[in-house]
């Protein structure tokens, strides 16, 4: 038997490192992922994808595919015309005066194909293998069009157009200004200018995307099981495309989703097609993305080229920042990531004058969205590289230069002067960056590490030390909700909209609910990700769920407790103020034998008097409470990373010697989960820093579409991470929490880039492009 969950010394569950209740089923092979669902009569879809990045479809001949035994349907754009509505624009820019231009997309391309991997038809058969056989028999005749495969090519005069109706390939032009940067640059004693490039990357959750749809003819309603980060948004899109009221589209993220990491936070053509096919065939239809499809069709992110300038004094005080960058939107995407990048660049530093300018460009590459970090790692890389360069220019220690520019601990709330992605001013809610840096350096034994570096360098060992600090906008609104009720078993059922992707909501939500209602952790059940269970929700991204759903659970839990005590008070003939909830029963405080089990309270409180009877004592019915929490703005977590590594100048291989993280995400609900989130984020960041690169040729063809060409780090490549927490509670929600889901990812590329450049200083190497795989390091050393 599992022992009762541990509590904090104060007696609560919030803050206790409770092992996750999700684990046992996952460890015994009894999880329920979308492809695990038992679905009688299910048939299987495969997608016909364009091999070309930019082309018109002259003709599709599906006769051979349709003739294959076991094939049930082959559909193209003309068959699914009723769901060929223009997709709504994904996101406005939060910045006033921004130019945003939306290329209109449809479920299947109407006029032309805009990326290699775009779906142009779907096949359904009795098995996935048969569906793939038939897919390969669909003959498509293409008229090839010239391709734009980079933002630079897309923004060049006379470039081929991704959307003809826009007249050029500019998706957005966003300018933000603080102070008077021109004057500051003109008057500054020192300036530096650099160009940095960050590559595209994918999410690569180990489970790909996947969807199963069932259509009920009698109700004219869909039930859709979808490995998604945002079931309510999927419902909205399906309801729009199928012209159904939302209550006839139920979208359920299965209890287990095998990682999200951003790409599952978009709507995709496959979701609409599978529903259409289920209705057409009157059979459940399943589509499970394979890894190749994830490489060529799931949303990616990160490709940016920054030209950045800083102005500073001889003492190393920042005076101004100018950052102009291009962002590759692909053929479709949201402005989430570039806006966040622009807001992440200033980081933990006081910068009185800022010019920030984004040019987001459409290209003939696959759609973009967010990938763990969502624009933030690029921003951190740019600023932290410049801090390193400033230190080098002035002959100062890079940690010291940072310390001289940090926003002091007494300056909160701190307005940066930009607009954040949530449409609110970029105002840091709380933090203590000097203490975070000081403790990180102390933990890494920084002074001694610098001394050792000198000794090692004399012996020919290329030791480098990198320091990176960042501020991370988290907990974005507009809301998340919670419904709590006491059910007939006397258990509290917590329902919230956002679906977990491995973050342990069933555990963390139960901790919050148990404290709010005042019941045992073991007496809580948690339901997530089901639009049939809670009417509204946003989803799992932007490190936002604990800061949104958490306070909603807290508030609804408090209300539910009052209702339970009101009913219990009636049953026990006692004032609610004299009652307590102990061991699954409402009791009169000080009289342990005068109690009534919660199940009995539920029976009366939920109207369990005989039919025709009136509720006694004027009690209202329904031991249920709901709350939607709407934060006034984002919260701001912070991290300081110190990386000590060696570079083998012969092979270009990097060996990480020590990696220390200081992290502040406000109050922590479950330290075990928070640390796990950060460790996973670091692995993603390290992968971006050293390995992953979604390369394309000039025809927009992926050159890295398997884990052989696109390596991810294994346990052998991952160093042991040392971590400590600093806690500056957030004032913007009653739990004082911020967010940690993406945190680990953010400063890693910057810390490793700084450390590699530091290690190779004898070669005069400049690290301006990621990732730092052995080939690139070798090129740097040899001046290629």
């Amino acid at each position: 038997m599992t022992p009762p969950a541990s509590r904090t010394p104060e007696g609560g569950y919030i803050g206790a490192p409770i092992p996750r209740r999700e684990d046992a089923r996952l460890l015994t092979g009894r999880g329920t992922f979308v492809d695990d669902l038992e679905m009688p009569g299910v048939v299987h879809a495969a997608m016909v994808r364009s091999p070309h990045a930019h082309a018109r479809v002259r003709r599709i001949d599906a006769q051979w595919a349709r003739a294959l035994p076991g094939v049930l349907a082959v559909v193209t754009a003309s068959e699914v015309d009723d769901i060929q509505k223009p997709w709504p624009a994904r996101m406005p820019s939060p910045v006033p005066g921004t130019t945003v231009r939306h290329g209109v997309r449809h479920t299947l391309p109407r006029d032309k194909i805009r990326h290699a991997g775009e779906v142009i038809a779907a096949v359904v058969a009795e098995s996935r293998a048969l569906a793939e056989d038939a897919r390969d028999l669909v003959e498509v005749e293409y008229e090839l069009l010239p391709v734009v495969a980079t933002p630079a090519a897309a923004l060049a005069p006379g470039a081929p157009l991704v959307y003809e109706e826009l007249g050029d390939n500019v998706a957005a032009h966003i300018v933000q200004r603080v102070g008077n940067p021109e004057r500051a640059f003109a008057a500054a004693p020192h300036t530096l200018r650099e160009t940095f490039r960050v590559m595209r990357g994918g999410g690569h959750s180990m489970e790909g995307r996947g969807v199963v749809a069932r259509y009920d003819e009698a109700l004219d309603a869909f039930t859709v099981w979808d490995a998604t980060q945002m079931p309510h948004a999927i419902r909205a899109m399906l309801a729009y495309l199928f012209e159904l009221p939302e209550h006839r589209v139920r979208v359920i993220a299965p209890p287990d989703v095998g990682g999200g990491l951003g790409p599952k936070g978009s709507f995709y053509p496959e979701e609409a097609l599978v529903c259409w096919l289920a209705r057409h065939l009157r059979r459940p239809v399943k589509w499970i993305e394979d890894r190749l499809e994830h490489f060529v069709s799931a949303a990616q992110e990160r490709e940016q080229i920054h030209t950045v300038e800083i102005a500073f004094t001889a003492e190393g005080t920042l005076l101004a920042l100018r950052d102009v960058f291009t962002h590759d939107i692909g053929m479709y995407g949201a402005l989430v990531s570039p806006v966040i990048t622009a807001c992440t660049v200033p980081g933990p530093y006081r910068i009185p004058n800022i010019h920030s300018e984004v040019w987001a460009a459409y290209t003939n590459l696959q759609p973009t969205g967010a990938v763990r970090g969502a624009g933030r790692p690029q921003g951190v890389l740019v600023m932290e590289r410049m801090m390193d360069r400033m230190a080098e220019t002035l002959g100062l220690d890079p940690a010291e230069v940072r310390a001289r520019n940090l926003i002091p601990a007494d300056a909160f709330p701190y307005p940066v002067g930009l607009w954040f992605r949530d449409g609110a001013p970029l105002t840091y809610d709380s933090g203590n960056y000097p203490e975070l840096l000081r403790r990180a350096l102390e933990r890494a034994d920084y002074t001694r590490a610098r001394q050792e570096q000198v000794t090692l360098r004399a012996r020919g060992v290329h030791r480098g030390i990198g320091v990176a600090i960042c501020v991370e906008g988290v907990g974005l609104g507009p809301f998340e909700g919670a419904v709590l009720r006491l059910d007939a078993r006397g258990r509290v059922v917590v329902t919230s909209g956002a679906p977990p992707q491995g973050q342990g909501y069933q555990t963390a939500f139960a901790q919050i609910a148990a404290d709010a209602v005042g019941v045992r952790f073991e007496d809580i059940d948690v339901v997530t990700g089901d639009t049939g269970a809670i009417p509204y929700g946003i989803g799992s991204f932007a490190s936002r769920v604990t800061a949104n759903a958490g306070p909603a659970i807290l508030q609804a839990g408090g209300t539910l407790r009052e209702k339970i005590l009101a009913v219990g008070g009636h049953m026990l003939e006692a004032a609610p103020a004299d009652l307590e909830i102990v061991d699954g029963a409402v009791r009169v405080r000080g009289l342990p034998d005068r109690g009534v089990p919660l199940a009995q309270v539920a029976r009366l409180g939920n109207g369990g008097v005989a039919f025709g009877m009136v509720m006694p004592g004027g009690l209202s019915v329904g031991l249920e409470a709901s709350a939607y929490f709407t934060p006034s703005q984002a919260g701001y977590s912070a991290s300081a990373h110190v990386c000590i590594l060696d570079v083998d100048a012969e092979t270009g291989e990097v060996t990480i010697v020590r990696y220390v993280i200081g992290h502040d995400c406000g109050n922590v609900i479950n330290p075990l989960i928070v640390e796990g989130q950060i460790l996973g984020g670091v692995a993603h960041g390290l992968s971006n820093a050293l390995y992953e690169e979604a390369m394309y040729d000039e025809q927009g063809q992926s050159l890295a579409s398997s884990f052989l060409d696109y390596p991810l780090p294994s346990a052998r490549e991952m160093p042991r991470i040392e971590m400590f927490h600093l806690t500056t509670p957030s004032p913007i929600n009653p739990l004082g929490v911020k967010g940690a889901g993406e945190a680990g990812t953010l400063p890693v590329t910057a810390a490793i880039a700084g450390a590699v450049e530091d290690a190779l200083r004898p070669f005069g190497v400049r690290v301006n492009r990621m990732p730092l795989n052995p080939a690139r390091i070798s090129d740097l050393i040899h001046g290629r």
Partner: protein, 156 residues
């Protein structure tokens, strides 16, 4: 387009029969026909290791072995490690304690590789544990919780 064969496997100690297309992989038969869905398919090209099962005691990528190749052999999957979620084996229990699982999609394959490795060497060092885990990809955990779980089990 396909050719079908009858195969007999011993799966988690029990004899099982299946009619399979010759092109069908072992993991697809385990999941789709025998409904042992604890083993997952992550990349279908033998890199991620999510589909790892033991065949005659040795770790095998379930996506790279054809079902007909497993005819007459003994297969162990994650479902064999514990009778139910309330009775975890010691390795599984250490995974809970050290937060070695997040989304859990890759976990089954990892447990099977570790199970085989621990039979050969019950007291692995951290380096040996990482070497075993190097045949697997996990995007959630950064591996540290898994490594710590095995170190604890090994009494290190």
């Amino acid at each position: 387009m396909s050719d079908t064969r009858a195969i007999t496997l011993t799966v988690n100690g029990e004899p099982r029969q299946a009619m399979v297309d010759v092109r069908t992989t072992l993991v697809d038969v385990l999941r789709d026909q025998l409904r042992l869905t604890g083993t997952h398919v992550g990349c279908e090209h033998g890199v991620c290791g999510a589909c790892t099962v033991l065949v005659d005691g040795e770790p095998v990528r379930g996506c790279l072995m054809l079902a007909v190749q497993a005819d007459g052999r003994g297969v162990e999957t994650v479902e064999s490690l514990a009778p139910d979620p309330a009775h975890l084996n010691p390795l599984q229990a250490e995974f809970v304690r050290h937060h070695g699982v997040q989304c859990g999609f890759c976990t089954a394959g990892i447990l099977m590789s570790l199970t085989a490795a621990l039979r050969d060497n019950p007291r692995p060092t951290e380096g040996e544990i990482r070497e075993t885990l190097a045949g697997h990809l996990c995007r959630c955990t950064g591996y540290q919780g898994m490594v710590d779980a095995v170190l604890a089990l090994a009494g290190r």
